[in-house]
């Protein structure tokens, strides 16, 4: 080793050799430098997250009140002060409900097909299709539903729900496949040995065992859909009423699009409202994310997976 080169010719001195010098010292410094750079990168990401949360809270928390959460939307134009996010919250809930009613069965069935039935070849094609769907820009999904539905039947909460379902399906399916594959093979073998029919095994043994993972994936997909702007913007606009409008055959207000509209009008009062809504939306999404992860971890620990 070159690091020992410095000591050649010297009487071996334990105190001396323990201390890296010369080349080894340089190598260790380089190593330490790069290790601390990776730490710095991780620290930077966490710092950015904290700055984003803090900044949204600083600008939005003052808006928070029961009446803000329930009141009708601010008047368009942003000149008349007042207004809240009630219809937008309700509309977002409605749209993601429609999306999830469609996406949950499709996603889970796709996952069951892939993990239980598909041949290798079809499995590969379908996995590729799911990955393509997951990587699809959400604005493209909006353009697609616009062409498919809005151009024929007009914009509506249903159109937005279908668009968001396309966003949710690959998220639910891919995570469900993971948890279906994590079901221990021994369970399946035990069921087979007892002569249980395939469908009973799948519905009665495998699916319940994987349920926690599937539920978590669905909750995370819902949180993701709740924050999506682009697909809803193209399929569920314009919203004319400031009042609660929840008929799914017509447009409903949603929080992300409402934030965008308020920003466009640009007045101080409108932007304040936008911050309030952003704070609420971000808070809900982050809490749901944290909650789902904690719940999954605890339930897995309990089962000893």
């Amino acid at each position: 080793m070159s690091a020992l080169g410095n000591t050649s010719g010297m009487v071996p001195n334990p105190m001396h050799t323990l201390k890296p010098s010369g080349n080894l010292r340089r190598r260790q410094l380089t190593s330490r430098l790069f290790v601390s750079l990776t730490l710095a990168a991780a620290g930077l990401a966490v710092a950015v997250l904290l700055i984003l949360v803090y900044y949204a809270a600083k600008n939005g928390a003052s808006q928070l009140s029961f009446s803000f959460l329930t009141a009708q939307l601010p008047a368009p134009g942003g000149i008349v002060p007042g207004g809240g996010m009630g219809p937008a919250l309700a509309g977002t809930a409605e749209v993601i409900l429609i999306a999830t009613i469609i996406a949950l069965p499709v996603g889970v069935l796709t996952a069951i097909y892939l993990s239980e039935f598909a041949s290798r070849r079809i499995g590969r094609v379908l996995t590729t299709a799911l990955e393509q769907m997951a990587g699809l820009p959400t604005i493209i999904v909006g353009v697609f539903i616009f062409g498919l539905i809005v151009q024929r039947a007009g914009p509506s909460a249903i159109a937005a729900g279908i668009a968001l379902a396309i966003v949710e399906v690959p998220l639910i399916a891919r995570a469900s496949i993971e948890s279906l594959r994590r079901v221990p093979g021994t369970l399946r073998e035990a069921a087979d040995a007892l002569g249980v029919a395939r469908w009973r095994t799948i519905l009665g043994v495998i699916l319940p065992t994987a349920a926690n993972g599937i539920i978590t994936a669905t909750i995370l997909a819902v949180a993701r859909a709740a924050g999506e702007t682009a697909p809803v913007l193209l399929t569920d606009q314009p919203v004319v009423s400031q009042a609660y409008q929840l008929d799914p055959r017509h447009t409903v207000a949603t929080v992300p699009v409402e934030i965008l509209q308020l920003l466009l009008s640009g007045t101080t009062s409108a932007v304040d409202k936008a911050w309030g809504m952003a704070f609420v939306l971000m808070g809900l999404i982050l809490l749901v994310n944290i909650g789902a992860r904690v719940w999954l971890r605890r339930s897995e620990r309990k089962r000893g997976v």
């Binding site: 984003l52 949204a56 820009p137 982050l286």
Partner: protein, 305 residues
């Protein structure tokens, strides 16, 4: 096996196949819908549309070049930064951090990906753009001004550069999560072997971890590129919305996804809508292409990303 079971087995199989088939059909329908929507503009302008610079919707002059330019520049720029940061974070989380620290920082980085794009854009407008204008631009210009892309600071903070930073916030957590899982697949014996031979931590990473995961890192970067290219809302809020292709990144620009988000619901003519479909088709090609490339790279080298 009795008759009921046999029927139920078949029913479940066909139901599951139906779910998978639906995914496939939706994907085909998306491609068909986007292409057929774009056909009007394609017939009129042909492929030259992609390289034409004029964009005056009021007088039916359309060319996509400024959007293609903005899309590629913001995509490449943000992926370059995100790959360096994301891989560093991935290294930190997988190989450097004590398990407890990684268990806290990992989910925090993932939280960053959960923040809705409209909120990142909102913070981009009020925090990042002003910060870029008053602090980053003058500093970068004085230090690196000899590189033409860091030209004269502009009076407005909304710029291609701002879009790159905002996209970086959104892509870093994706690359970090992908590469963390990737680095965890490097066999422990290889790492231990390198360290037993006297390699420092950094030498072990550079000599063993990075070479064995190279293709996976590239695949993660390509996936990040696909994501960056498709982001519409946050980019629309900070890029300035100027159909131009400036070399100076501190000037305003536009991207394909953001021009669709901004103008799709208020077209000036049917041709305008068709042109936006054409831009969506270009985006779709870039997105599908990068997803397939990422898949192929990671599969052909045996990394399942």
């Amino acid at each position: 096996m009795d008759k009921v079971d046999r029927r139920a087995n078949g029913a479940l199989k066909w139901l599951a196949l139906g779910g998978g088939a639906l995914v496939f059909l939706v994907l085909l329908a998306i491609v068909y819908q986007i292409l057929s929507g774009a056909s009007g503009a394609f017939d009129k302008f042909g492929l030259a549309f992609i390289f034409h610079k004029n964009w005056v919707p009021a007088s039916n002059q359309y060319g996509a070049w400024t959007f293609v330019y903005g899309t590629l520049v913001t995509g490449v720029g943000s992926v370059l930064i995100s790959t360096v940061l994301g891989v560093s974070i991935g290294l930190f989380l997988s190989l450097m951090a004590p398990r407890r620290v990684a268990a806290i920082i990992g989910p925090l980085v993932e939280m960053l990906a959960a923040i809705p794009s409209v909120i990142i854009g909102l913070i981009g407008i009020y925090l990042i753009c002003p910060f870029i204008k008053t602090d980053i631009e003058p500093w970068v210009h004085s230090a690196f001004g000899w590189i033409p892309i860091f030209g004269a600071p502009q009076p407005v903070g909304n710029s291609i550069f701002a879009a790159i930073l905002v996209l970086t916030i959104m892509v870093v957590p994706i690359i970090a999560a992908l590469t963390r899982d990737l680095f965890l697949t490097v066999p422990g014996e290889l790492r231990d072997g390198a360290e037993a031979l006297g390699a420092t931590r950094w030498e072990m990473i550079r000599g063993v971890v990075i070479p064995t995961t190279q293709s996976g890192i590239v695949a993660a970067a390509v996936l990040g590129f696909g994501r960056a290219v498709g982001e519409a809302i946050a980019v629309a809020q900070v890029i300035g919305g100027v159909p131009a292709d400036p070399l100076n990144l501190f000037k305003g620009g536009y991207t394909g996804a953001s021009v669709i988000a901004n103008t799709f619901t208020s077209p000036v003519s049917n041709l305008n809508t068709s042109v936006l479909f054409y831009i969506a088709a270009i985006l779709l090609v870039i997105s599908i292409g990068s997803n397939l490339a990422a898949q192929r790279i990671s599969r052909s080298f045996g990394h399942a990303l």
